[in-house]
Symmetry: D3
Subunit: 223 residues, 6 copies
């Protein structure tokens, strides 16, 4: 059954943006090492960083029809997250769709498939994380769904979940947990800043984390 869910809840925009600034590695750790998408999801160019609210798309293989449907559901600060129902590396998305997204206030795309026009996308500063770059065109024949729970690159993503993505990959934060995760992520950042200074001064992690005793107990030998 193909459905478009039109009214979805979103996390607080300040929380979403705050998570985006913390970055994937920090957010992933802060929420107990969960929510990462598979590491084959790569940015199409370097230096992008986003925090955004997911509009999800379940699409047929090599069929980008639902992208057009989904863009109507996009609000300022949203990111599209597409998973095909069967593996496909075809180029579902290019500069025209990105133009439409930017006109609607959309901020990026996460797609477990391919994209094209990557040079144009880079010039537009439109952030995309994908499994492939491929110029192969798609058709518009088969329905899919928008704003239903999907599994994308091994992670369950609900509409309205928060997506954090940067050069390290992509992470999803449950909408209901977003605020709590942000608090933990900020605390973690503060702590890391402190650690960074100590390590930069030459202190060893072995000492800073008090590892020597436990290493010895486990039986590590120095020869």
């Amino acid at each position: 059954m193909a459905v478009v869910v039109q009214n979805i809840a979103r996390a607080d925009q300040a929380v979403i943006e705050g998570l985006g600034k913390c970055g994937v590695a920090t957010v992933h750790e802060a929420q107990g090492r969960k929510g990462l998408l598979a590491s084959y999801m790569r940015p199409i160019y370097s230096g992008m960083r986003v925090g955004a609210s997911a509009v999800t798309i379940s699409a047929a293989p090599c069929d980008n029809w639902m992208l057009h449907v989904a863009i109507e559901q996009v609000r300022r600060g949203d990111i599209l997250v597409l998973a095909p129902t069967s593996p496909s590396d075809a180029g579902y998305f290019g500069d025209l769709l990105a133009t439409s997204m930017q006109a609607r206030g959309g901020v990026g795309l996460i797609i477990e498939a391919g994209v094209r026009d990557v040079r144009d996308l880079a010039e537009m500063n439109f952030p995309v994380w994908s499994r492939a770059v491929c110029a192969e065109g798609t058709v518009k024949e088969t329905l899919g769904s928008v704003n239903v729970p999907i599994v994308c690159a091994g992670a369950l993503i609900n509409p309205g979940d928060v997506i954090v993505a940067d050069d390290d990959g992509v992470c999803v934060v449950r909408r209901a947990e977003a605020e709590d995760v942000l608090v933990k992520a900020l605390a973690r950042e503060a702590l890391e800043e402190e650690k960074r200074k100590r390590l930069a001064s030459g202190e060893l992690g072995l000492d800073m984390y008090n590892m020597r005793e436990r290493l010895a107990e486990k039986g590590l030998k120095y020869v």
Copy 2:
């Protein structure tokens, strides 16, 4: 049997360059979604764009002897296209061969194998699309052929076919169809420019392409 075909027909140089400017995605669409090489063929650095006439090479695995033979057949505006007869990621090509290519007016390399000296190649602005980057050296022991039809990365390529390549990948256009494809590609570009403006103004693809009725017929439900 190892042969070098010395006189091959080429498409018109203005047509070749015109196709190069249109880019892979547009050309691929304009010729009816055919001719793409597999998406594992990637540029060794970003921002390259070429349209060129193919000098083809069928080479033994891990043996780059035929590259030297092929360069003699290169004319201004040609690109080398190499497929090994058995899969190999060895580094067939580096800065010395690129120097020789540039001296002959050659404009790039498409290789379903590996290349090396990629930093030098980038500094020389020599465009390469390959399956791998690998410093592994090759031998010069086994003959191959130059300017025979080859299958490279899943696509049939004849000598004198037009190669279009950019950040989206690599596409081949049959020599006899090149002019016609260029006409269609330019028409497509004009059309896309019009669409881009409408989408940028906030118009939805759903409306611009009149999709709503067909979506409803197929049974899409909004909830």
Copy 3:
């Protein structure tokens, strides 16, 4: 048995740096086409080039404890080389460990696994070659060893061997052979400079290398 070998021999620092300047392709050729790591070991950003002395780490999968242990063994000019005992793409290493490495004079990391904080690592100019980029965290539960012989990406690496790495990949040079390989690499470089000039002037490799006769003997036909 988990051990840390504390005193290892290193090659002469001038030799190590000289090899680094020659680059992977040249060094690999100079030592008889051996020592390359698998081509899936890629730099996390472009333009890095290092010559360094290996501090080796054999680590449990998804467990980065031994990295902390290893950093204590690092001297100025050393590079960490880590191989997991079972395949893992988890992110063993990030900006905090890189900070610690730089404080100790360490110059980089070769890891047959994943790293994270790659944007920070790029800003720090900290060179890394890895099999993956992945934000997935690791644990500190299982001992491994430091400065024992390891197999990393298909190559045997002993502590104190010289690592050469650049955009073409990673190569290992045996410590005892380092000086001899440098001599050969420099000779090769000189020779290549000469060849480069001749090729740039338009001379063909076919002539420069006297290939025509042997090609004819093997049966190459020109048609």
Copy 4:
């Protein structure tokens, strides 16, 4: 947080077994082409066919501790479904755990990782679908969870969902939909038997499915 959910609902055993007899392809079609696990999940030997109720396991990479915990939760007719929190091909499961499973009435294992002792497992007629066969051992250091929703090989699996697996792969059916899917699967089987007879008699699918008109409308040319 590591939890073991002890009381989970299961589908009706007759329904579960009925689905198992229908097989993966039929069940997948009957439920609207959803629920398939990725095709890299392969049987470790041919000819196995199961329908069973899922006991799910979320486990650390290379750590099989939770398998021991999960077996206590297994009832007659259950199948274990394990997804690691980070990719791992290590051998989590072998003949001892299979012996324990059989003693508890468990009927198989679905694991997005590796197994070992496959010869013994085949002799025991213990069905396993895995991503890898690997003798690599695992540790027992890190907690995971049992009977929580997991994503295994790209599919969301809840405890108590029905698993259907055979030589074609693995499919999950939601517990609440199992009875309805069985009805549809049986109807489909009856229909296929009718089609099989007509096709065996030489009737063409083109005629049996009335495809000729639509093919002509779409523009298929016979030459």
Copy 5:
């Protein structure tokens, strides 16, 4: 443009069957080491061996419509060879289509995509070489072509070319060369039988092939 070419030339049936009996390795060698499909094309079960005339199919990704069209073109002794226009591992083919093929006298399938119902196919003794086994269903929406030249798994295949397949993989022989290749393959087989006897008696390949002198010339040292 979607076309079905209805009248294609075929090689002599005795030649086709003779090539099938020689097997892939012998035929591949006999025709000068060309024509092999990529080694990821695997039999779905062991022990199959066919020689057959190709009916080729170019099909859309995840769309098996053209298989129905193609079966009408099949004559006794033909084999279907399908390449998708974009990579797909979906299950294009199962026991119903195999039933139809057998009713028409068709003898197998080569498909650079997925198949399902593999247990049934094995029981029917219907030979299939594929890239994947996958229960994922396909649609019937997009036209393709039948009996046009295709590139399948890296090899160019024309309608009416001879396909030889066994446990070693798949090889294509040009129709016009089939008879000549058979003669060479039979000669090769006779020669191998002679060699087999000598090797079985303990004679070394080093002596039988007179390799010692050339090894010494190349510089092989015995220590």
Copy 6:
């Protein structure tokens, strides 16, 4: 430098055979979880089990010349272990070489590349573990070495090391450690037999291994 080392030490034949009977998983565990080759090394058919002494081969890619050289060095009970110097899936080995091996008393092949004639090899009961099955032929142009240390599928293998291989994969045991490992492996087998009986009787691993307390300490919650 290409060398053939003619006199190598071997482990005691009874020890070698004893290790073979213990199997890969047991031997791997008994020697402290080391020595496994990568899991992409698969048996070409099921049910093989060997313990044998390694004759190692370092060979050029797609070049099987050294196999002929190596067979002369084979004694009764030896197994060939081949690693190419650059990745290759070509078919280095077929039924003729297997005939020669059997005539010399050789008992199998481990090859990080391809083999062919797999049906014949199966009928000959000749055991092979390989990375690929591929009919692609090889050349005899480039020297390699026999009985030198090699890295095969990620593991260091010295001539005379003991190879254990079965359906779980391939494991190497250092010659000097073989006897000690056998003692540990046999002890492990005895222990496993005892455990198997307890598990078969319904006892849980949780109790047999006294895991409950440590699980609780780590914080596992039952709900």
